[in-house]
């Protein structure tokens, strides 16, 4: 182990990137779907698939921020519900209301994320419990707001993002607005996670908070910001979902676990330190593709839950196994 530096080959800074298995998985699943249902290969087929997955994909990318920072956010589903219910209550069928409702909802999301983050960082409540508590609270608020049965519906201006398709696009025929949202928000979240100082600090804080603190990372602030990002993406996902699916009182329930499952399929490290936004989005695609396959196979809705549970446990067990084999 002499320290005399050998003349290094120029290749030293580049390592062949290992392909994340999630991408292979997505391709395989989509091929399987096309085999079973050739119409899926048509632009309308896959564009509608992407439109359906957009909300979950954006949500997963946001949830990844909290996972990379070392926590969980189980309140996102209830934020989606609150967004949809709240918007429908406020809109009272006025198409012009959308312009102030969306900023207002983002503001509410910001406050919720802030509260989550502060409770976890300063009151030291484990994030799982803090955000579960937030989930109960917000579901209660949504019920309160709607009086138990949602009245009114969302104006078309609001549903634009989730429902509208641009038609007659060359090559692909239709282009749903939701897909554009997915690309724009996905790219933004990718940029935030992988191209900014904030993203690197997020990784460091989740990897080893003590070391990060001693290296000067403002760990508390970084973690709080992660919860804020997660809550904001939940609002965006809620807007898209509400546009596509309309108003119901439990519209967002279950999304929190789907988002975590998607991130885990994408190779995110639970309890922090590693995760990729494109892989989390791919994880969401894979999850939705699996659900689509189950549908094509004629399996009922509840089977989804079983499969999702198995995937969640399996993906984490697989990651543990791989890490152990790599010798830590």
């Amino acid at each position: 182990m002499t320290e005399q530096s050998l003349s290094r080959p120029e290749t030293r800074k580049r390592r062949l990137p290992q392909i994340n298995p999630v991408y292979v998985l997505v391709v395989a699943l989509i091929l399987a779907i096309i085999v079973m249902n050739p119409a899926f290969g048509e632009p309308t087929g896959y564009m509608n698939f992407l439109k359906r997955v957009a909300a979950l994909a954006i949500l997963s990318a946001g949830a990844l921020y909290v996972i990379v920072s070392g926590g969980f956010d189980l309140s996102v589903g209830s934020i989606m519900t609150l967004t949809v219910i709240g918007s429908s209550m406020l809109a009272s069928n006025d198409p012009n209301s959308t312009y102030w409702i969306i900023p207002l909802m983002l503001g509410i999301g910001l406050v919720i994320g802030l509260v989550n983050g502060l409770v976890v960082s300063y009151l030291k409540v484990p994030s799982l419990i803090a955000t579960l508590g937030m989930m109960i609270t917000l579901n209660g608020v949504a019920f309160m707001w709607s009086g138990g049965a949602p009245r009114g519906y969302l104006p078309d201006t609001f549903r634009f993002f989730g429902r509208y398709n641009i038609t007659d696009v060359p090559l692909i025929g239709i282009l749903p607005i939701a897909v554009i949202c997915l690309v724009v928000f996905g790219a933004t979240l990718w940029w935030g996670m992988h191209r900014t100082n904030f993203g690197r600090m997020l990784h460091a804080a989740g990897d080893n908070p003590q070391a990060a603190r001693l290296a000067g990372v403002p760990v508390q602030r970084v973690r709080i910001s992660a919860f804020v990002v997660s809550a904001l993406t939940a609002v965006l996902a809620g807007i898209i979902l509400g546009g596509r699916a309309g108003v119901s009182v439990n519209i967002g329930s279950g999304f929190e676990l789907q988002a975590i499952t998607a991130a885990v399929i994408g190779g995110a490290q639970l309890l922090g330190g590693r995760g990729s936004v494109p892989a989390a989005i791919a994880g969401a695609l894979a999850l939705e593709a699996i659900f689509t396959l189950l549908n094509l196979l004629g399996l009922a809705q509840p089977v989804r839950l079983v499969v999702q549970g198995l995937i969640l446990i399996g993906a984490v067990a697989f990651a543990t196994y791989q890490r152990k084999r790599a010798g830590r």
Partner: protein, 327 residues
């Protein structure tokens, strides 16, 4: 940094150890003051006290099991689904036939034990984070359950409703049962080697392993007990509702509430410290809060909002004192 930690003062008053008692007294005082202030003295009776306690049987039984999981430094988020599954299976198997009571109960207990076993094995052998393992299990149970049922299914015979509605004097059997179960749990934790091992493994897994304790078995055992208790809670709920539906566990938020009452009872989430009586105090505190809401006429949805806040506040009450950052 070890040199700093050693400078802690010995024999200071340890707030955490008495906090659950203090909280219980505070909740009682608040309740009494509220009743006096509202002039509702008619509620200050033994009957009403029993009624208050009687409303928390499901939570109480579940929390007894959750105490085991948390003491061993694990956690179980699948209890709500287990409750639903147990209630549905009980009601469907009995289907009004008193002769099926024993087989149904046996089957449900076996189901609970099996779920706990799988949880424990996934956590210890596959080394999956207990939160994720039990969340995943919860999804699986919920999925299987809703595949077959989407509403109340079957019904329990009148004879079986005695479990929930029968009473010895003014005290319901179910309340006696819950305290008997708590007593049994206390006995196991206090007087058996398994109980002692639970504290050791939860307190310091490495030290326990060095002392020759088979830590995996202890964790699995705790999860089996936890799921068994949830199954019993489901049986009780079927008896009370006269039938079972696949959403009743989730509706009661028994996963989060059971964790919250365990923590309020002074059992630390990191494991190794706490006990059953603290948990029971936590259950009573929650019942009292519920009654306070009822007396004060709080709207059902507002109640849910306040519950979420109270749960988080309760955990924060203990957690904020710790110096360690949490995930």
């Amino acid at each position: 940094m070890t040199e700093i930690s050693q400078n802690r003062a010995p024999r200071r008053f340890r707030f955490e150890r008495h906090a659950s008692t203090l909280l219980l007294l505070a909740a009682i005082a608040l309740y009494v003051i509220l009743l006096l202030a509202l002039g509702q003295v008619r509620f200050l009776t033994l009957d009403n006290l029993v009624a208050i306690l009687g409303r928390s049987i499901t939570l109480g039984i579940t929390a007894i099991g959750q105490t085991f999981a948390i003491l061993v430094a694990s956690i179980d988020l699948s209890v709500a689904s287990v409750i639903s599954a147990a209630a549905v299976v009980t009601s469907v198997m009995m289907n009004g036939d008193p002769a099926m009571m024993v087989p149904a109960i046996a089957a449900v207990l076996a189901l609970g034990a099996a779920i706990g076993l799988v949880n424990g094995l996934v956590i210890t052998k596959l080394e999956v984070n207990p939160l994720i393992a039990t969340l995943g299990m919860s999804l699986i149970i919920q999925g299987v359950l809703s595949y077959y049922y989407n509403n109340f299914a079957g019904n329990v015979p009148v004879e079986f409703q005695i479990f929930a509605y029968g009473a010895w004097g003014i005290v319901p059997y179910s309340l006696l049962f819950m305290f008997a179960l708590a007593g049994l749990a206390w006995f196991v934790l206090r007087f058996t080697r398994f109980g002692s091992d639970i504290y050791s493994v939860g307190g310091n897994k490495d030290a326990a392993r060095l002392a020759g304790i088979k830590t995996a078995r202890v964790v699995i055992g705790a999860h089996v007990i936890c799921s068994l208790c949830a199954a019993i809670a489901g049986i009780y709920l079927a008896s009370r509702l006269r039938s079972g539906a696949p959403w009743i566990g989730a509706e009661g938020v028994y996963d989060l509430e059971s964790i919250a009452v365990v923590v309020i009872g002074g059992t630390v989430l990191a494991g190794g410290r706490g006990g059953i009586w603290g948990t029971m105090a936590g259950v009573i505190i929650f019942s009292l809060i519920d009654s306070i809401f009822n007396v004060a006429g709080v709207d059902a949805f507002v109640k849910q909002v306040l519950r979420g806040i109270i749960i988080v506040a309760a955990v924060a009450f203990y957690a904020a004192r710790s110096q360690r950052p949490v995930a």
